[in-house]
């Protein structure tokens, strides 16, 4: 895990900038944000992004529920969250302003296009009067820019129609951002030219808009320095790229194919937000990876099991509702003891819930969502970049222990981007699947005495023809068995095998005190917010430590010792206290849940206040 270890966050952050873009879901806000993030990263800033978009593809223009937003925090090393409050907000219409102005800090900059604040749009957003007039926004610094008109003028020479002129607004705005906050246009221009290679006039119009927005910045009577200070640190060394959790997870799965030499069969059914991983891997089809878009969630899970049975590595992924449907198949994988990686990109539930919004409420489902005694390892990456190493570890454990392994990501980790220093591929250890080939003494349910894993004997192997299935198997030979002693023994063996897995994922204090008043235990995407909240408390002199679990089942063996070193335990998570209950039941420790179910990441200030209230001696 060393390569995925987070940047040292012992030092206090210096100046950082948070920018938020908001507009209609058809305005290209996510493209604008992603391109800005890339340029910021190239400019040697560290960053974290928060795409915040609706499930509707093209909601009615001007509606508040159709607003798509993108927030980015950038600065020196160690940016771990997208920021609590924005320094600047680009509001593309009244609905975007109305729904996002609350995310702006007092005194923050608002860039708004008065042309979009028509009577119709104002009414749609529920404004009685135009907020750009009068003193409704007097707490902020308001700059009005006729973005639509200026974009239309800028692209006129490229000969595109009115529709495309309207679409280029986001690139015009991106140009202005580059002038305000720094960042080179070169990479974006390259991207535009590649993306619109088949429509050169569209590419030209977007580039013209980008350049015009940048040029406009110079005429704007705005002190850019007061908005964003240059926070660039000394040059870092090595290869970098920006990755979302989806990118890192996909790269991790491709790495599994390269490290093991196996064919990785990725089986999935479209679901938000997990589909992005299918799209990423579909682009690698044939290069060690084959993707299979199944007819449903159950088929995707069972096809993955079939692939593993036949000597590939089956991987299946979904989001909460899909994981429920895969439950029976996961039970089969536990029973027949085949390797399988199952990924759940969690979203707010229950049922359809809020499909594009993050939540961590599938932990119970991951731990307990199968009938019978069916334990399996559950892992969770803490950051987008960490998805790479966690999914490799999941695959390694699955093959070493012949077990399905669940990886819990979420909508935030999947969509958020950060700058990532590429790992040294040559240093990644090979994954060596132990295929059984020796017929002598072969028994399909004999066990490796160290790992308790059964042999992986794949069809086609001479002399090893055998039958497996969901009916209980006799230890050793694996024949169908209804023997009471055998079922008891097999149930205990399966549990012992999972309980005994040895992962390379660390379980150690991530930051703050090694012992003391309060231990804050987190998992998954809450990592950055907890780091910064604990930094805040530590800087006030409190003995608070942060432990972030990457392995949720079995719980790491040294967790009990760490728990004992603190007087109190708090568990912030985006659910109603699922990990807190697990810690309580496993360790008889009075772990205090800090739950949030807003479909949004924790805000640092909120978390810091909640943790302060749990400090020993704090008024209750």
């Amino acid at each position: 895990m060393t390569a995925a270890a987070p940047a040292n966050h012992a030092h206090a952050p210096t100046t950082r900038t948070v920018v938020r873009f908001a507009g209609d879901s058809g305005d290209g806000i996510q493209v604008l944000g992603a391109e800005f993030a890339k340029a910021v990263a190239l400019d040697r800033h560290d960053l974290m992004t928060l795409p915040d978009f609706p499930a509707e593809i093209r909601a009615p223009a001007g509606s508040t529920f159709g607003v798509s937003a993108f927030q980015i925090q950038f600065g020196d090393d160690g940016v771990l969250t997208p920021g609590d409050q924005a320094d600047a907000l680009f509001a593309f219409n009244p609905a975007a302003l109305k729904t996002n102005v609350g995310a702006l800090k007092p005194g923050g900059l608002i860039v708004a296009d008065p042309g979009a604040f028509s009577a119709r749009n104002l009414k749609r957003a529920g404004y009685a009067a135009n907020p750009l007039d009068g003193d409704a926004l007097s707490r902020y610094r308001l700059v009005t820019v006729d973005i639509a008109r200026l974009t239309a003028e800028a692209v006129a020479a490229t000969g595109v129609g009115k529709k495309q002129a309207g679409r280029a607004k986001n690139f015009w705005s991106l140009g202005l951002c580059f002038w305000l906050f720094g960042g080179e246009r070169g990479a974006t221009i390259e991207w535009i030219e590649g993306k619109f290679a088949k429509a050169p006039e569209v590419a030209a119009s977007n580039v013209a808009a980008l350049n015009a927005g940048h040029a406009y910045g110079e005429t704007l009577e705005l002190d850019a320095g007061s908005t964003a200070q240059d926070t660039r640190t000394a040059p870092r060394h090595g290869l970098f790229r920006t990755v979302t959790g989806t990118d890192a997870m996909g790269l991790g799965l491709a790495a599994v194919a390269a490290l093991s030499g196996l064919k990785l069969t990725y089986c999935s059914y479209p679901i938000t937000p997990a589909s992005a991983l299918l799209h990423f891997l579909a682009g690698l089809n044939g290069r060690g990876v084959s993707t299979f878009q199944a007819e449903d969630e159950i088929a995707s899970a069972t096809a993955a099991i079939g692939a593993s049975y036949a000597g590939g590595l089956g991987v299946t992924a979904s989001s909460g509702p899909g994981l429920v449907l895969k439950g029976e198949a996961l039970g089969l994988a536990v029973a027949v003891e085949l390797p399988l990686v199952a990924i759940d990109v969690q979203r707010a539930g229950p049922s359809t819930g809020m499909p594009t919004k993050p939540e961590q409420a599938d932990l119970n489902l991951a731990l307990y969502g199968r009938h019978g005694e069916a334990p399996l390892p559950v892992l969770a990456p803490a950051t987008p970049a960490e998805c790479f190493h966690v999914v490799i570890e999941a695959a390694r454990l699955a093959m070493q222990y012949m077990t399905p392994v669940l990886v819990l990501s979420d909508a935030y980790i999947a969509n958020a981007a950060q700058a990532w220093q590429l790992p040294d591929v040559d240093a990644l250890p090979a994954i060596t699947p132990a295929f059984r080939t020796e017929p002598r003494g072969f028994q399909p349910f004999a066990r490796n005495p160290d790992t308790l894993a059964r042999p992986w004997a794949t069809p086609g192997t001479t002399g090893l023809a055998h039958r497996i299935g969901g009916l209980e198997r006799g230890a050793g030979a694996g024949d169908i068995s209804y023997d009471p002693d055998n079922h008891e023994a097999m149930s205990r063996l399966r549990a012992a095998k999972v309980a005994g897995i040895e992962s390379t994922l660390p379980c150690e204090i991530d930051g703050g005190a090694e012992a003391g008043d309060l231990l804050v235990i987190g998992w998954g995407s809450t990592y950055g917010a907890i780091v910064e909240a604990v930094q805040g408390l530590t800087s006030q002199g409190h003995a608070v430590g942060h432990l972030h679990l990457r392995q949720l089942w079995p719980l790491p063996p040294n967790l009990a010792d760490i728990l004992q070193r603190f007087r109190a335990v708090a568990v912030p998570e985006l659910n109603h206290g699922q990990l807190a209950r697990l810690i309580r039941s496993e360790f008889l420790v009075d772990a205090q849940p800090i739950g949030q179910m807003r479909g949004q990441p924790f805000k640092v200030a909120h978390l810091e206040a909640e943790l302060t209230a749990l400090l020993p001696g704090a008024p209750r």
Partner: protein
């Protein structure tokens, strides 16, 4: 995995497992046919996999000495798809009952057929739930009395062969457990087909639905009540093949003729004729058996390979993927 033919007998495919079907179950006859076909194919036992879901017929893998996977109810076709994705060289058979293939797993059957995954799909149709003790199934005829339908069923049954054709199946056949010449012949054809080969086998459940197809398949009735169709041959039936079927294309139906010269020649590449044969359920006419439809079509893994040749990924190639969009600081 050599192409070399190995001399094996049906007996070589017996396992040490005690067969646990009821005495007189039609599955014994199907198992016997399948073992005979496997011996004739001459493939190594290790290169064949039997996959099943849940049900009486789904116990099949335990009784065939090849690789076998007894999985979960209805999902055998998708599990088998995964096997073919990982190792296309394996000969994969999926055996299931009418509930497995048509009720809980109906969706998967549709999709293996449309994708044309290279599998041998053997639907053991006894028109009843056996293992769960006798409830009506999707193929039970109207009026079937069962513990779950004490007054008789009133919902229309499904026609498996017609369903398979409708789903885009390009090899669709029907046979019966009792026909120890016709069944192996049909299974051999299915095995030779590169793609999803669907064979409906009419089977007798002696305990819960005895004689459901008895009128068709009993030795005494067979000649009059069924017609075996073969590509390029006239559709004849009767003890001495003295009567024939004439296809009426405008109606999509058949009529009986005493003039055998008039009988329609079967053309297994004609989709309309295939559908008419599959849908022919009429007490006044014989039930068609045989290969209704067989046309070549790229199977799923072949199409996948054509789309993107499947190669292992080296570390060097992975580095290139990893470095996409990267910069050096």
């Amino acid at each position: 995995m050599s192409g070399q033919v190995i001399a094996l007998t049906a007996r070589d495919f017996e396992t040490d497992q005690e067969v646990r079907w009821c005495p007189g179950c039609g599955d014994y006859a199907i198992l016997k046919s399948v073992r005979r076909v496997l011996a004739q194919l001459g493939r190594r036992r290790e290169d064949t996999v039997f996959v099943s879901g849940i049900g009486c017929a789904a116990r099949f893998p335990y009784y065939v000495d090849t690789y076998g996977f007894h999985s979960i109810h209805g999902r055998a076709p998708s599990l088998a798809t995964g096997i073919k994705l990982a190792n296309p060289a394996l000969d994969v058979w999926v055996v299931g009952g009418d509930a497995d293939f048509l009720a809980i797993g109906g969706n998967h059957l549709l999709h293996v057929l449309r994708r044309n995954v290279d599998l041998n799909l053997v639907l053991v149709n006894n028109a009843i739930y056996g293992l769960t003790k006798g409830q009506a199934s999707p193929t039970s005829s109207v009026g079937t009395r069962s513990p779950s339908s004490p007054a008789g069923t009133f919902d229309a049954p499904m026609n498996p062969a017609a369903l398979a054709l409708g789903a885009g199946g390009s090899f669709v056949a029907r046979s019966a457990d009792m026909l120890q010449d016709h069944l192996p012949e049909t299974l051999l054809r299915a095995s030779a087909y590169r793609g999803a080969a669907f064979v409906e086998v009419l089977q007798n459940c002696i305990v819960y639905n005895d004689n459901a197809f008895g009128d068709l398949t009993r030795k005494a009735a067979r000649a009059e009540k069924t017609v075996q169709v073969r590509h390029g041959e006239p559709m004849l039936f009767g003890a001495n093949g003295e009567r024939g079927l004439v296809y009426e294309p405008w109606q999509g139906t058949f009529r009986i003729t005493e003039n055998v010269a008039e009988a329609t020649l079967h053309d297994e590449t004609n989709p309309a004729l295939a559908m008419a044969l599959a849908r022919l359920v009429d007490d006044a006419l014989p039930m068609p058996l045989g290969v209704f439809y067989a046309v070549p079509r790229p199977h799923y893994v072949a199409a996948l390979e054509a789309n993107a040749p499947q190669q292992p990924l080296t570390r060097g190639e992975f580095k290139d993927i990893l470095r996409t969009g990267s910069w050096r600081a």
